[in-house]
Amino acid sequence: MKGLLILTVIGLLIVSSLHFVITAQYPNNLTYIPHEDPNTAQERTDTTGILMLFVNISEFAASENYDDAKTLLAQLNKITVSEDLKYTIWRLTNLSAGLIDILQELKTTLHQAEILLDQMLLNDSIPLIEKAENLTRSATILLREIKDAVETLYLRLNLQSAMEIHLKDKLDKLLVKLEDLLNKYKSLLNDLKERVHEINERNLNETILLLYCNTTKAFVGSFVKLYGTLSWSGGALPGRRITILLNEVPLQNVTTDSNGNYEVIVKLPYIYTNSISFRALFVPSDDDKLHFLGSKSPQVTVQLLFFKTFVNVTIMGDAHPGLPINVTGIIRVKNQTTPGKKLFQIFIDNKLLVEDLSNPDGTFNVSVTLNPNISVGLHKLTVHVKPNKTHSGASVNITFAVTKLPLHVHLDAPYLVFAPLTMTIKGNISWEQGPFSNATIIIMCEDRIFTTKPDDHGSFKININVEFFPSIIMDEKIEIFIKPVEPWFSEEKITIRIVKINIVNMGLLFMFAATFGFLALPKKRFTIKKPARKEELPVKVEPPHKTIPSEMKIKVLEKNVRMVVKIYEEALKTLLRKLNLRIEPYMTLREILKLVSSDLKETYKPFSKLTFIVEKSIYSMHPPSEKEIEEARHLLEDIKRGTGE
């Protein structure tokens, strides 16, 4: 009872202390929690963020910073919003993107129309003004829809905090600002329309500007003659300034002569394209503004001629960091057998490494040393031939692979090592041309780092003291790094696993096992089933009849002892079964008698007698007689009766 109480108390103490150990957290010194489980984190849409984003977009748009507004809009697909808000946000985003595109186009169109009107090019400006009018209408509709979408967003967001209200007010103001901007564009459009109307009312005279070129084909760098006339319905317009445009960019000015003619010699630029275009522009100035409209000539195209250059490049050999590569190539010029010396440049990954002249026949062969730190993998080599007057330039890119020369490492390390002895790791390093010695070998073992260097034959050897470890046996990873000095050789890493045996603990284990073995031995010695001394008994027993041969006598005696022991065993088994008891191997016959007799008094007498007979048989010098065997049988029957079997 007492024992049970103690058990309960100790059990409770253990359980409560375990609970404390497992659940107790020390006071956290951190101000905030360091993280939460993202899988169980609650999804929350932050209204402030959404409002802030639209405020920023509107702010950019209202200040005509359309590119920044577009960049911000593009980020909207990355934001986190709840499902119920997704449609409203998506709609608002699309409307905003549409409005920003239209406003940007409207601004450009109005600007172009304004320039054309400044140049008195009435006919060219009118389509642009019409386009601007359509864009204005679209922008007005979109802005109205945006306002509706923003109202819906406010309702969905259920704005409450001061910050949210502040942002709402800001967004409302910005929408008003956007409306003002649109009104500004409308006003500008009206101004332009007014100007068109004014010009029309002035009934200005249309002018006609013609442009010709003396050739349709010419080499780059050559001179061409551009000529034409400026006139109106009343005749030629002398002394007027004409601007020659090359690809729509002003190139040169010229003044018409007394017949309204003009002529200009233009040097064709070194542009290696198929063709270029020229136009002439007349913009009325001073008094002419009161009488004439501006005009632009039709486009004149000149086909450009030049010698097209080609370049072919080959890299000879393998590319390794810090080592040179041979770049060979040939530069060819179409329709020319000898291109002459050509200036070319070699770039690796867009970095200029070589600038040189080719041979007169266009061939070149250059050695380019690679950067020792260049990474292993694919790289781009560009050969660029510089253009030279009528010869165009040429460029070619080729991809090449940078590799490192492999090292071959032969390692000789033991698989089984013993602590606290010394382990020897030997090895040999070579590469395709023989032994390799210019390297550092780093061995990481048991969190210790060892370094060595190979000898001239590439061989290395290192002795490592295997330190004690707590267990008897453990496996360990050893990492061996071969770090060559030259950058063109590859670093090698070899991982080996060894098994370490702690010989001290192993010895202790053997000692422990030996002790167990020793303990197991007496267990057999005390086993009742096989009496250890029964073999010796016949030797010491006096022979009953001298006439019986000794061998036969021994057999008889052995048989008798065995019979008695067998009867005893049967009786003992009966009793143990009945009493549900168990005997231990070290128990003496008397202890067994005491054990089995304490609970069943009826069998005490016969079993004590039987015990005595067995003791006499196995311990005394006198073997059991036939009579004693018979008595033992009777006692067994008495015991069986007593136990009810």
Binding site: K2, G3, I6, L7, I10, G11, I14, L18, V21, I22, T23, A24, Q25, Y26, N28, N29, L30, T31, Y32, I33, P34, H35, E36, D37, P38, N39, A41, Q42, E43, R44, D46, T48, G49, M52, L53, Q75, K78, I79, T80, S161, M163, M444, D447, R448, I449, T451, F468, P470, E479, E491, V504, N505, L508, T515, L519, P522, F526, Y586, T588, E591
Partner: protein
């Protein structure tokens, strides 16, 4: 006598049972390498092939080609600060990952002006589920961001006073530092883009600052491009570095102490002299019944 025997056996059995429970109870501490739950770092340790170090004394003397990752959630001792400084000077790469811990102690010791703000970095717009999980998408062209589009942080902070470091990544322009802890943006709070990852060459080595250590926990490592970023970080020199993961400054729990105590006892018990004594005691205990049996046998014979 019988009571004492019961008491002794019960106590011994209880101690063995308790020790077994503590030994086999799974590790649940934040960032713990053997914690395979959401807040552990078992995945990171496995993928980076990191070596765990329980003390900064275990840093190898050859710092080159070594990357040391430390999460300073407890104070540094002066010798530890000196060790880290030497590690950097000798060419090691130190990755200091902190948000609300004691990383600034090291920055101060290194005489740098950059600091971990220690205030929550919230992003109400570009986030995962809520503003405490800011998405980082603005990167420099450093190789550690190769093929990285987004890195996801979890209860992070930002770096401040970054004039003496090279900033490598920033939070979005909608993020902010929640200085007054109200979870909302107020007008005086610093707004994004805010620096979150930075690098400083120090001696022959490099110091890399990351303002959220949680990117290495099991539940975060597979989010967005976190794993790719960490792999690039380990391969910063074009080849994998030997990664050391310092766990000596991680927060501790009672079970950590209990497990450590058990490990300490085991280590002591397995040292050769103590092993010998224990084996001897066991042998004596085992031989005692034999001695008793022998006496009894002798006495029986005497009778």
């Amino acid at each position: 006598m019988k009571l004492l025997k019961v008491l002794a056996i019960t106590l011994l059995a209880s101690l063995i049972l308790s020790a077994s429970i503590i030994w086999f109870y799974p590790q649940t501490g934040d960032f713990k390498p053997d914690n395979s739950f959401w807040n552990g770092s078992s995945k990171f340790v496995k993928t980076s092939n990191a070596t765990i170090i329980n003390s900064l004394k275990d840093i190898p003397s050859n710092a080159k080609s070594v990357m040391l990752l430390t999460i300073p959630y407890t104070h540094y001792d002066t010798w530890e600060l000196e060790t880290l400084k030497s590690f950097l000077t000798e060419g090691g790469i130190l990755v200091l990952m902190d948000d609300y811990g004691y990383g600034n102690e090291l920055l101060e010791y290194l005489n740098l002006s950059v600091r971990f703000s220690g205030k929550p970095l919230l992003d109400p717009l570009f986030n995962y589920k809520n503003k405490w999980f800011p998405k980082i998408s603005i990167f420099s062209n450093h190789t550690i961001f190769q093929n990285v589009t987004t890195v996801l942080f979890n209860h992070a902070t930002a770096l401040v006073n970054t004039s003496d470091v090279e900033v490598l990544a920033w939070s979005s322009s909608f993020s902010f530092l929640d200085l007054n802890d109200d979870g909302k943006y107020t007008s005086n709070e610093p707004m994004g883009p805010l620096p979150v990852i930075a690098k400083k060459d120090f001696g022959n080595g490099s110091l890399i600052l990351i303002s959220d250590p949680s990117i290495i926990i099991n539940s975060m490592i597979d989010m967005e491009d976190n794993q790719k970023f960490l792999t690039n970080l380990i391969n910063v020199h074009g080849k994998p570095l030997h990664v050391l993961f310092d766990i000596s400054h991680l927060p501790r729990t009672a079970i950590d102490d209990a497990k450590d105590a058990l490990r300490y006892l085991r280590d002591i018990a397995l040292t050769p002299p103590i092993s010998f004594i224990l084996v001897l005691i066991t042998v004596i205990i085992l031989l005692k019944p034999l001695q008793k049996g022998g006496k009894r046998y002798g006495s029986e014979r005497g009778k």
